[in-house]
Symmetry: C2
Subunit: 391 residues, 2 copies
């Protein structure tokens, strides 16, 4: 997979008319650069430069003690140093004399923004007085394409993670009973992960995230001792990591009250509004559209149905990370920077995850995963078409 991505990067460089992609890192176990997941699959301790050009061998300039580890993980021409990376880096640039150098930082996209500011200062110091100092630019477009365009093997791995997640969700539906706590559900899911020897897709402490009733945090928080109560909604946000690729899916359940045989109308209406918002967004999703236009379809659908607007984007890409890359299906809010304006591409894989609050009951939220095809998109997750029931 690493070799495939390095070759893909060289092709995207040609497409964008960029000469060189420089990924500059150090102590990457301490300050992670997500680019290394694509082009190395390991960490570097000393200051290191990974240099992928349109032509010529991919080159890694690394500390002498890191050389073996780099060699074990990917096929780079390796140049080592002990005292300073400055001389071998300048020697490389001298030989290639690139007109455009894309560097691993980005205003908009955290997954393309692994370069720390201290490393940026260091790089500028090394290049001071050389012609290359004025040729640096963000690698975000390159990295977004590299991360976003999934190969068949990448898609197969994501599909596997999705299928396992949905299977675990089926198990949750059989296991969950009123009176159990959010932490009980977490324990059940952790048990399933343990049996499968799999890791969760993000931080263990809120993957799974389990939210029950109207008083729960609703997102980005860990399960509590709050119990599953009749008349409430329960939703779970969860994914697994399989062979380096992840899923990220949400499902919603209603807890029947004594005597009820079906969920009440307000809960059903909340769920169906979410389901239809997802369907409407998916119907419009295809290559070449700006993400905010898709977000707006789902957002407007929910607001027009009388619910409050959801305080986040409709969808993000998934891949090596649960939040995997640049283009987002999100509103044109300042905090999203350029992301809502980037155009979708065939081969990208997105979540669709609107939410709304059903007063007095909790949050209704469903998260599906779709892949962009030549003319539209297709669901990789078997969609949740009905509100699940806990009895």
């Amino acid at each position: 997979m690493i070799q495939e991505k390095i070759e893909q990067a060289a092709a995207i460089l040609a497409e964008l008319d960029i000469d060189l992609w420089l990924t500059f890192v150090r102590e990457s176990a301490t300050t992670r650069d997500p680019a290394l997941d694509m082009i190395l699959g390991a960490n570097c301790t000393w200051t290191s430069a990974f240099l992928i050009s349109r032509n010529g061998p991919a080159t890694a300039i690394v500390g002498s003690l890191d050389a073996r580890n780099v060699r074990d993980h990917a096929e780079y021409r390796i140049v080592t140093y002990t005292d300073s990376i400055r001389e071998p880096l300048l020697a490389y640039l001298e030989q290639l004399d690139p007109a455009r150098i894309a560097v691993n930082y980005s205003l908009s996209d955290a997954t393309s923004d692994g370069l720390t500011h201290g490393l940026y200062i260091m790089l500028r110091e090394y290049l001071a007085g050389s012609p290359w100092i004025d040729r640096l630019e963000s690698a975000e477009t390159l990295m977004a394409a590299l991360r976003g365009r999934k190969s068949p093997e990448e898609r197969r791995r994501i599909q596997k993670a999705i299928d396992i997640t949905l299977d675990i969700y089926d198990g949750v539906g059989e296991y969950a009973r009123p009176g159990m706590s959010e932490k009980d559900i977490q324990s059940y899911i952790r048990g399933r992960l343990g049996e499968l020897a799999l890791e969760p897709a993000w931080d263990r402490d809120h993957c799974p995230a389990v939210f029950t009733g109207p008083d729960s945090a609703g997102a980005h928080a860990g399960p509590t001792d709050r119990t599953i109560e009749p008349g409430h909604l329960m939703n779970i946000d969860f994914g697994v990591r399989c062979d380096g690729y992840v899923s990220d899916l949400q499902r919603t359940w209603y807890v029947l009250e004594p005597g009820q045989t079906a969920p009440p109308e307000d809960a059903v209406r909340g769920f169906e509004t979410i389901r239809e918002a997802i369907r409407a967004a998916a119907a419009a999703l295809k290559p070449g559209v700006e993400g905010w236009t898709i977000d707006e379809i789902a957002r407007r659908f929910i607001v027009e149905a009388g619910y409050e607007e959801f305080p986040h984007g409709l969808g993000h890409q998934v891949g090596r990370a649960a939040h995997d890359g640049s283009a987002l299906l999100c509103p044109r809010w300042d905090r999203y920077k350029r992301s809502p304006y980037l155009r979708t591409e065939q081969g990208q894989i997105y979540t669709l995850e609107p939410r709304l609050t059903v007063k007095g009951r909790g949050i209704a939220t469903v998260e599906e995963i779709v892949a962009i095809t030549e003319t539209g998109c297709e669901f990789l997750s078997r969609p949740q078409n009905e509100l699940f029931i806990i009895t």
Copy 2:
């Protein structure tokens, strides 16, 4: 521990005459900022600002969906936003009007360099036109003091990690036999970690690192199928994480040849040169010295004994990370930037880890851990005084 560190940070701000420490982060599960280990103990998804001032409450400006998770982990006054962090951040600065703002980036120290360059650009955009844009500086001195000055409880946790590591090393000595592979030793150590339900101190794939014989990588690489052979040296670099704090220790063994009852003179001399280099360095280590002077004592000792100079620093700090913070006992090489010139302080905890090559046999390297006291230093690790034997 988090609350203790936040209070300690406020005191160090006063000592350094800095008004505000700003830690600016986003998607910290994707691009880790090691500062969060000290002041939050969790990750943030949206762009977030952690603001610790000399006076007044520690404040966190976070996305609305991150608020609960932040509240669950630390005692901040929490301000939330949905669209942009700009307005609440400017409102905070307006009220405090800090003259000096220390920000989470550093040229020299990776553990103080969590701010990505994209986030730095974003911060400057938010502050454009305000007086505060010209008041930003690196927080490295503040963060180095905060990370370096271990509290009694931090030291207790590191001691526990050290004691467990040395106990596992005792077990390795009993387990290892000629003909076993480096991977067999790794499996043994992983088994012990599993029994104790502990994580290794750094990347699983080279913690433990196991090196046997003259052809091994010698550092920063994972165990291979290479076997333990009579006449060779084996060394291991390993540590564990206990309650959030780590150890980092190395030990060296000699593999007896048939008929030998003791290691040969060249192996003993290599080992004893390392041992004496450590003793000489430790004898000089005390508060207020520049790290390079301690490195030089060990380095010169080894070179004067006729061995090649080791290609790395003599020691680094340990704490929440195996490479924990700014000041290093290292040579004045370019790649170490300011680190060799920073002065030692009481309460810091350092490794001492020189190495040398014994021709035809392998690497002799020992790594001890010492704490700086009021007048000198004391060993936290029971030192390796004799070359261990595998029979």
